[in-house]
């Protein structure tokens, strides 16, 4: 099973790299006389043939996955940017009652610590609040908000992804907080503290990089999957991006495949292969990203 998953990962990586090397713009396939080559069958130069518009399906899929990764990276940016600070705050939060803290710090006059404790409590509230809003409700709100507030359609998908990352950030925050809570009792961290290593270095190098990189990678991979799925959902309801994307391809393929499966007549094999290509890619992407995440945990441990 691991070998199959490794092959999937390599295929996905190759597909993402191809548009970077060649071109992210799709141009129709023409013959030497300049005529469009529509519905070409599968060949070595066109591994999935061409469609009704003479566009190479394989190249289209490569561009689609490249664009989807681009959108997902925007989500990842806000996911990590908000999730990691929230997780760190939550992980270092003490379990005692808030009132005890307030009394203690007011008596001792250590207002800076009181400030940090208040920030930690606020972080906990933010995490719980974001966790209580189901992602589908959040997506619905975000999409309508951006649809009516952002006039340029090209920017909407980026804004949607930015908000998606924020709403999903509790996932990494909670995972990180659990990890930090376990680490706090570790002897070598106590020893490092005793040796005078700065809190910042302890947090970034020892806790976040050396101990939590597996958790962060796994959560990031899950986010990438989720972002791709959300783009598909948005495109399914015509809220997606305007260019080539997996969601737009799947939206068209669903119509073709539903027609194929519901008709009792002769099935056009080329149509079937071409329409199924994006689904196969999506399945491979889903499985390989998950595997990559689990592998990252394994390697970091």
């Amino acid at each position: 099973m691991n070998l199959v998953q490794l092959i999937f990962v390599i295929i996905i990586l190759v597909l993402i790299i191809i548009p970077v090397i060649t071109s992210t713009q799709l141009s129709p396939v023409v013959n030497s006389e300049g005529d469009l080559l529509r519905n070409l069958s599968i060949s070595l130069s066109h591994p999935l043939g061409t469609d009704d518009y003479g566009e190479d399906i394989f190249h289209k899929i490569c561009i689609a996955i490249f664009n989807n990764i681009k959108y997902a990276l925007v989500a990842l940016l806000s996911f990590l940017g908000i999730g990691i600070p929230l997780g760190v705050s939550l992980g270092f939060k003490e379990r005692s009652t808030h009132f005890v803290y307030i009394r203690y710090f007011f008596q001792k006059k250590r207002y800076s610590i009181l400030f940090f404790k208040s920030m930690q409590n606020m972080a906990a509230i933010i995490v719980y609040v974001l966790q209580s809003i189901p992602i589908i409700v959040a997506i619905t709100i975000i999409v309508i908000m951006n649809q009516l507030n952002i006039s340029q359609p090209g920017f909407r998908i980026y804004a949607d992804m930015l908000f998606l990352g924020i709403f999903l950030s509790p996932k990494i925050a909670v995972a990180l907080a659990d990890r930090i809570e376990v680490l706090r009792t570790e002897e070598y961290l106590q020893a490092a503290k005793g040796l005078g290593i700065s809190r910042f270095r302890l947090l970034t190098r020892h806790i976040l990089w050396m101990e939590s990189r597996g958790t962060i990678t796994l959560q990031s991979m899950n986010l990438l999957i989720q972002a791709v799925m959300v783009e598909i959902l948005l495109s399914y309801f015509q809220f997606g991006p305007e260019g080539i994307s997996l969601g737009n391809m799947i939206y068209n393929d669903i119509n073709i495949l539903t027609r194929i499966f519901s008709s009792s007549g002769l099935i056009n094999q080329l149509d079937l292969y071409q329409a199924m290509a994006s689904f196969c890619l999506l399945l491979m992407f889903s499985i390989s990203m998950r595997w990559l995440g689990l592998k990252a945990i394994e390697l970091s441990e």
Binding site: S132, Q147, L233, S286
Partner: protein, 276 residues
């Protein structure tokens, strides 16, 4: 206990305020006066809210033709979610019981089942839902619906592996080994901790399964919160001249958030009592 209750009240208040302020940032063509959150909740409780497009009354229950009742859809989604949670818990318990039992035959049967379900679980609900939609169109049975709600998006995988870890841990406890050595029933000793763990686990996955249920209801257009969101909010916003029904969204989202927070509160309450 007071601390937990106070925390959840604050969370509920902040979540509803956030939701309401986000929804109020959506431009309103009719330029109606915005209510405060408290006034809005009051209006919703008295059944005074109306839809933006046809001025239908928004209610929880009722069969008036000039009103839109949301209760049935909400109950339907909650029921689907609960059944899906129960199904994955039963499947996971059966598989893990077979693994920890003494019968080699059961272990051999459970191993491939666990692998297949785990692999299926790796597939996101959107992918699984769309593939099934293509194959069966919208002619999916309730049991099929519940199966894909529970199995996909890593939920089954997480439940099974978490349960297995817990079983491994509890079966190696001293008091269990002692009971086994004395010839006493092990089940009698592990029943209480396992029941508590199972209840908290079921309550813990409930919100994720609810999200899955809404995804599936949107894809298959089955009665539930998902199709309600699609018909009243997503479809009007997707290009028709109708306005998205913001009050319907707030009503439904408010109930969902309250239920999720209640479930989390019950879970924390059980854990608190357990620690005490």
């Amino acid at each position: 206990m007071f601390s937990i209750t106070a925390r959840y009240i604050v969370i509920l208040a902040v979540a509803l305020s956030l939701l309401y302020s986000l929804l109020n940032s959506i431009p309103d063509k009719n330029h109606e006066e915005r209510l405060s959150l408290i006034s809005w909740i009051e209006s919703a409780a008295q059944g005074n809210l109306t839809t933006r497009n046809y001025q239908y009354k928004i209610t929880l229950w009722g069969d008036d033709e000039n009103s839109i009742a949301l209760g049935n859809s909400i109950v339907s989604s909650f029921a689907n979610t609960s059944l899906a949670v129960l199904l994955i818990w039963i499947l996971s318990t059966l598989v893990n019981s077979a693994f920890f039992g003494s019968s080699e035959l059961l272990k051999n049967i459970a191993a491939p089942i666990s692998k297949i379900l785990g692999l299926l679980s790796n597939i996101h609900i959107m992918v699984l839902g769309l593939i099934l939609y293509i194959v069966v169109n919208d002619q999916i049975s309730l049991s099929g619906l519940i199966m894909i709600i529970g199995l996909s998006s890593n939920i089954y995988y997480d439940v099974e592996s978490e349960q297995r870890l817990y079983f491994t841990d509890i079966l190696s406890k001293d008091y269990v080994l002692n009971a086994r050595a004395m010839g006493d029933s092990v089940l009698k000793h592990i029943l209480k901790p396992i029941s508590t763990f199972s209840i908290t686990q079921i309550l813990g996955v409930w919100p994720s399964v609810l999200t899955n249920a809404m995804f599936v209801e949107i894809i298959f257009q089955k009665s539930g919160i998902g199709s309600l969101l699609f018909q009243n909010i997503l479809a009007p916003a997707a290009g028709s001249s109708l306005e998205p029904e913001i009050d319907v969204l707030m009503y439904v989202a408010g109930i969902i958030i309250t239920s999720i927070i209640t479930v989390s509160y019950i879970k924390d309450y059980i854990l608190f009592k357990l620690v005490k």
